[in-house]
Amino acid sequence: MTSTTGSSTSGIDLDIWEIVIGLEVHAELATRTKLFSSATNLFGGEPNTNIDPLTLGLPGSLPVLNEHAVELAIRVGLALNCKVQRSVFARKNYFYPDLPKDYQISQ
């Protein structure tokens, strides 16, 4: 990215503004089961077969965190020179038909 004096054709004055681009990358971790559910995460199966009470948001179901997923995520973080820090999960509440608990468990 070079900076030039004066405006570019789009009217952005590059003396004042610095362009920063962030990439949100979703990369699936190579685990056998899902993040909070012990259902398998195999691609290409029949609908509604890799299920357990949590994936359906059944009453009484509870999430339990996949240890290998955490391990792999930390490995990626360290490999990319990131700082690994303490993590807490919270709920993001909204209604959507493919969101079984009608909340998302997020960091």
């Binding site: 685990t31 056998r32 089961t33 012990s38 259902a39 398998t40 029949e46 609908p47 509604n48 077969t49 890799n50 299920i51 357990d52 009470p53 359906l56 339990v64 965190l65 996949n66 240890e67 290998h68 997923a69 955490v70 209604f95 038909p97």
Partner: protein, 100 residues
């Protein structure tokens, strides 16, 4: 805490919670919620500046499970309990064109 909860406030949270209230319910619930929140106002008298919030009673950390598949649920049993099922899936009304 703040000013007494209003019918507009109650209508707004009802909408957020996907609950439809008629006028009588809106009025009644507003009064009842206002009474409860007013009672909770007794917490104003406490000095909470140096107090940490406690969201859960036991401080367990790093609770994990091994990455081992469990026994899946029986899809037929699950779909039998569904309000509407079709071709192995849960059937729902139109989502596209849904305003919210």
């Amino acid at each position: 805490m703040s000013d007494r909860i209003t019918p507009e406030d109650v209508a707004k949270v009802a909408k957020l919670a996907l609950l439809r209230l008629n006028d009588d319910e809106l009025d009644r619930f507003t009064h009842q919620l206002a009474d409860i929140l007013e009672h909770a106002g007794d917490m104003e008298s406490l000095d909470l500046d140096d107090v940490e919030p406690m969201a859960r009673p036991i401080p367990l950390v790093n609770v994990f499970r091994a990455d081992v598949p469990g026994v899946p649920l029986d899809r037929d049993e699950v779909l039998r309990a569904a309000p509407s099922a079709d071709d192995g899936r849960f059937r729902v009304p139109s989502i596209l064109g849904d305003e919210r």
